[in-house]
Symmetry: C2
Subunit: 343 residues, 2 copies
């Protein structure tokens, strides 16, 4: 399997994450990719290629133009405002506050375009986010070109990024950008299967009223887990999208038998709805050793996960999302890809 | 003029405020009250008395019961969750996310009930917030008892606290609690005049659909100033409250002539609408030396402010809100009270 990868991911190297009331080194760190690349080389998964620069067109197909402009300039404006730390929102348009007027102040705009405060915008974040979007498009294009499956080693991840909001370590929604690319290049129905521990609120948001991109997610129950405010089972889509969004929230301590039963249901749904291609939001923070999650999958379970996805028999774009047990992220992510290839 | 004051304000002594992407010592600090008390003594303003404990009934007249329970237990739950720092939200119900289901997780509930992240919940915060509400009720009761004016030296402040959200250094909305007390004890129309530099989004929120409590606010234009997402001139109230909310957003560098013209307009509005009593949200962060605001009032201007309020000829409850030029806060706040008494 070919891996698409951009070395520019290292430009996303924030110093601070807000966690437990303190500023700590971010769980989502550049070392994550190094471990995955090492494992790809160790098992001989296949070639690692660099994507072409795509410009902003594929990004603007799923993201708000004002939001994209904000991401592009936020760091420079933040620094110009005299702030000493990285850009972290301090206020947002909460219940019954105005969502229509976008403040002039960079502090106000930061809150307008954020859905979470753990994720700071740092120098280089925009360049890295653009490179990750290029990776996603590059992976989608290779599947359009006839590959059975391609791995887009995106970083920063994307699935929490909504049409006009960043957060949860995500800035541009790589999976949404890839799915839209597949649609724009001729496929009529795409299914995004999100196996990251966290609900992909951003992906759901982007496609919630559409029937051409199905969103299926297995994740920690939002009553107990980030992102808390989206991912319930009764969120089934709206308008034309009704029935094309399916959430499988699962409890603390979930093991492979329960997790894989939900996976089978999700894959069955994708097939019944006529998906022609799968985009996998591949987070491996379902791992038992993950420091910020609460499922209990083993490294061997990731092989079985790949096999189950492979048996769906659809062209597949794998895109890296979360996974914070850094030393095991390569083993676990590549196990999914090897399991897929074994079918 | 009598001052109502609770020594329990010192229980609000957070160690951290999120500002400029760093955790810094809070601008809203216990020393603020010490400077005001010193000035009250120095000028011989009048007696300083301690309020009676009121229980939660006056609080629950304007705040959501679930929110109040949350504030009561948040610190203990946060500590029990293993967090090492003070309680700071990291995610909230942003645009198109669910506002109906309240998460089980303390991290999720913290986001549900917050409108800002600069304000951490610390040990003792709840006790101090309750004491400030007692101060507000105690001041209102003395005006009901016949005093021309009383000063409630509330801390923490209150005007950013909405029916079900904390933030902006505020937890319980002292001015709203006092206004409701005045209504419940027989006055038919109350005007809250908010002269703090920041818009009192919480107070506006609580009374936005009511015609019995008028809200009038002079503040930094929310396009440029906290709270950014409320406080525009076209927010005039809704339903029965239409015409009973008036905002006067003012630009960077505003001096006394422009500020006092807006004050005259606000006071005229209160009188025309038949207010029987004034509640003044007395922030003195309009001062030229304030570290986080951008108006340019001088210490002498605060004397004139008090005179203008006194000339309204209404019974008046002054309640302390913001003001972060700590060394000058006593001079400036007491100048307003002395100006009032000189009329």
């Amino acid at each position: 399997m070919i891996t698409v990868h951009s070395p520019d991911h290292v430009l996303r190297a924030a110093r601070t994450e807000l966690a437990g009331g303190r500023l700590v080194p971010p769980f989502e760190c550049p070392e994550r990719v190094a471990f995955v690349l090492d494992r790809i080389a160790a098992v001989g998964l296949g070639a690692v290629v660099t994507p072409e620069a795509q410009g902003l067109d594929p990004v603007l197909r799923v993201h708000d133009a004002g939001f994209v402009r904000f991401l592009e300039t936020a760091w420079d404006e933040w620094v110009a405002s005299g702030a000493a730390g990285e850009a972290i929102p301090i206020i947002w348009p909460a219940r019954r506050m105005s969502q229509d007027r976008i403040p002039r102040s960079i502090t106000g705009r930061l809150g307008h375009y954020a859905l979470a405060a753990e994720t700071s915008i740092s120098q280089g974040t925009w360049a890295a986010a653009r490179a990750a979007a290029d990776v996603a498009v590059g992976a989608a294009d290779r599947v359009l070109g006839g590959e059975r499956a391609v791995f887009g080693l995106c970083r920063p991840p994307g699935h929490h990024a909504a049409r006009d909001m960043f957060g949860g370590y995500c800035f541009l929604n790589n999976a949404a950008i890839a799915a839209q690319r597949l649609r724009d290049r001729g496929l009529s129905r795409v299914a995004i299967l999100d196996v990251d521990f966290h609900h992909g609120n951003g992906t759901q948001d982007i496609f919630y009223d559409r029937d051409d991109v199905v969103y299926l997610s297995l994740h920690g129950d939002p009553m107990d887990a980030f992102p808390y405010f989206l991912g319930h089972a009764d969120e089934i889509g709206v308008g034309a999208g009704e029935g094309f969004n399916a959430n499988f929230p699962l409890p603390r301590g979930t093991l492979w038998p329960r997790w894989s039963a939900a996976l089978a249901e999700a894959i069955g749904r994708a097939r019944r709805l006529g998906a022609e291609v799968l985009v996998i939001s591949l987070g491996v923070d379902t791992f038992e050793g993950d420091p910020i999650s609460f499922f209990k999958l083993t490294s061997d379970d990731f092989l079985r996960m790949g096999e189950a996805i492979g048996r769906a028999g659809l062209p597949t774009v794998f895109l890296m999302e979360g996974g914070y047990a850094v030393a095991e992220i390569g083993l676990n992510a590549v196990n999914v890809l090897m399991g897929f290839e074994s079918v």
